[in-house]
Symmetry: C2
Subunit: 455 residues, 2 copies
């Protein structure tokens, strides 16, 4: 009996590149899922990867760029001849162009922009000027716009004529402007179906459409889409001229990305997504930048222990409990940090509502502190048969849990109030403070009760 | 000078309810953003909240339900008279109906289903039977379907006639079926614009449309949408009969929710979103369920220290370093855990590729271990002027960091391979093992070099 071998996609791609069969290569890649495309490219040998885009047609290459991670696409584009790179980027939608150009060195991006179709380049520059997560940075500049004086039949004629070009457009609306190019209405495409041919657009359009400025933030956009069924919202300048359209899809994807960044920052991965296909030294360095701050904070916290060396020497058993108290207080506090980060993201708490959070966390901290304190105190009593030891470690953990939970709930609000990223900094700040307090509670209680600890 | 007071939305709502002005109440709530609606409802007094839905019209109540969290909506619906609850749910789209009914007790949901419009109830039951994150659980059952023998003009007539009803539909496609009700094609609505009136749909439809079964998973759906520009995908049964449509929006939202669940689980918040408006005891209990497992694991790990009591007694300074080594190894390991969780989510690593992860993490672990070991060893040397102390703590942290990083990278793959949630269990398993090893390394090295530690 023999098993059928499923060759890995990166092996198939390498073979097809070696066979110099661009058509089959394009077809094979097109049928992979987005995740498999990224995966396959990250697993190719460096030399093979370099010749991949060379072999693909411009259209196939552009299609591939859309589906993989932006930094992967930028890596592939970076080393291509400028002319070929420009031709591939010309084929893409404006928001995708900006995503990739934004991941290149500024000089390299400028070289490519110079070679691009001037109209495409102008649109891409417009997006690149705006912050990535603003309406201006997320919009597409491919949209349909007609004057309000036009008739339904004019629009249908135009749609028929440019059918092929428009088929790539993702928007389901047309935008209606005055003679002065001001946005005055929006018209769902299917509305055209239901109207007479000689009706002017001004009669059909929904007036005063929701629109945003290029500087609108991700939070504002999310709130508008949460509140409505729109597929896209027009972006306009101060003269009410339409610049582009932000799609719901782009906003949902950006929100997901922001949430993921919170997860990564919270776990000590800074500077965005880390994939294991990235170079060793950059992965190592990015992780170290966070760890090296942390180890200094850790040493500061542990210095509290050094002050109580005499107590520890007299009751060495306490050394067993110090790491437990440090770790458990960190866990309890981090739960409260996570709830605050989520409530901030969901708009369920404002950054000035410290007192509300404190009052809500104090109850949880009190109950959980008592339970955890009783558990560890009971364990100490059972182990050493000394009720005072149980009271010292149990009391210290109970008190420190209450403190950690209250502090953990409030730190993200304080950081957010100062426009700092709560996911990145909350946990290191929290654990440093709670470690110091935890060590202080155990060791000072023990010092006070030293004669009774029976050691 | 006086500042203008902006009353909080929950105060305005309470006032309007007290004034018994349903119209103004409905209008005011409608203008709040989704996040503000949730926030306001969570901050209402219990008594006021109970009378909120009573005062709103059925349509306004249904609109409100859509914008707030599902469990909030379920709470509001739960206590209403069954007839009113059913009337409100009748007004909603099928996927929203299922979301809310799925959050109620089974018996209560059944009572409401009995009172609902029979057709609506049948659709809702269909969705409730499927797992929440499957195609069948996420689809909407409002869609447009026509026979392939029909002409464009027939469709346009139907669209005009049912204009009002269809205006709520979010889909931009019509689905085309054979005389046997089998799905045979898809037709973008705007295509109807560009065709002659007497063309049969069979000539216009795109044949063999992408479709999925009701059991298709979130991962499969995400992969299809990543790979295409579709706004929705039809869901069909084994006879190719169309059951519903999964929208890209629903899939993006479910992916975001799954990612957020990973963040929450990773931080020790289990059982889904925790909001501070939830009851104290349930919040406390959910957090404790995770903490109490953790404290037992912590005590097991710390028991290693107890075995080396004699060494510690002779070199009490080590007690300062034990919590640092425990915490730093946990941090380094959790970075690798986070990268593995993200790579699994993004499909960039398969759960059997342990060796690949090990080889990629070993390099990072080695470099970061050496740097961190040198930092802490240097600090120990500077503090106590004893090179052997530096070697013991530096060597132990270096070795344990390497070990923690390799283990942290692999644990999520092993859990995922056994179909367990890596975000929830990875960190407690990791830190228990790395604590034990870290304590063992420091204390066994110190035991071997005890005469040279100079204390």
């Amino acid at each position: 009996m023999s098993e059928i071998e499923h060759p890995e996609p990166w092996d198939v791609i390498s073979t097809l590149i070696a066979e110099n069969d661009p058509e089959k290569l394009g077809e094979y890649i097109d049928e992979l899922s987005g995740a498999d495309k990224s995966l396959a490219i990250s697993r190719l040998d460096d030399g093979v990867r370099a010749s991949l885009l060379d072999q693909l047609t411009t259209e196939d290459a552009a299609d591939l760029m859309k589906d993989i991670f932006d930094d992967q696409a930028a890596d592939l584009i970076e080393d291509l001849p400028t002319e070929k790179a420009a031709a591939i980027i010309d084929e893409m939608a404006s928001d995708e162009q900006a995503d990739i150009l934004g991941h290149l060195e500024v000089d390299r991006a400028e070289e490519i922009l110079q070679e691009m179709d001037p109209e495409e380049a102008e649109d891409a520059r417009l997006l690149l000027q705006s912050p990535v997560n603003s309406a201006g940075g997320m919009m597409i500049t491919e949209f349909l716009v007609y004057r309000e004086s036009m008739l339904v039949t004019d629009v249908i004629r135009d749609l028929r004529k440019n059918r092929k070009e428009y088929s790539d457009y993702e928007v389901q609306y047309t935008y209606i402007t005055s003679e002065q190019d001001e946005l005055v209405g929006v018209l769902p495409l299917r509305q055209l179906l239901l109207s007479g041919k000689n009706v002017p657009l001004s009669e059909l359009a929904i007036p005063d459409p929701v629109h945003v400025s290029a500087s609108a933030s991700l939070t504002e956009l999310k709130s508008i889409f949460d509140h409505s069924g729109f597929i896209g919202i027009p972006v306009s300048d101060s003269n009410a001229k339409i610049l582009g359209v932000v799609l719901r899809k782009a906003v949902l994807e950006a929100v997901d990305e922001a949430d993921n960044r919170a997860f990564l920052n919270f776990s000590g991965i800074v500077g965005g997504e880390e994939l294991r296909s990235m170079p060793l030294l950059s992965r190592s360095f990015r992780r170290l930048s966070w760890l090296s701050v942390n180890i200094v904070l850790n040493m500061i916290a542990a210095s509290v222990i050094a002050f109580y060396q005499d107590t520890l020497e007299s009751a060495i058993v306490l050394a067993v409990f110090l790491p437990i108290i440090s770790d458990m207080s960190g866990c309890s506090g981090n739960q409260a940090v996570a709830v605050s980060i989520r409530e901030l993201t969901l708009g369920q708490v404002k950054s000035h509502e410290l007192f509300r959070v404190l009052s809500k966390e104090a109850g949880v901290g009190l109950i959980n502190g008592i339970v955890l304190g009783a558990l560890i105190g009971g364990a100490a009593l059972a182990w050493k048969g000394n009720i005072y030891l149980g009271m010292v470690v149990g009391g210290a953990l109970a008190l420190n849990s209450l403190f950690a939970v209250c502090l953990g709930g409030m730190i993200p609000l304080m950081l957010s109030h100062r426009k700092m990223d709560p996911a990145l900094a909350s946990s290191p700040i929290l654990t440093t403070i709670t470690d110091m307090c935890g060590f202080f509670f155990v060791l000072s209680f023990a010092t006070a009760l030293l004669p009774k600890l029976g050691v």
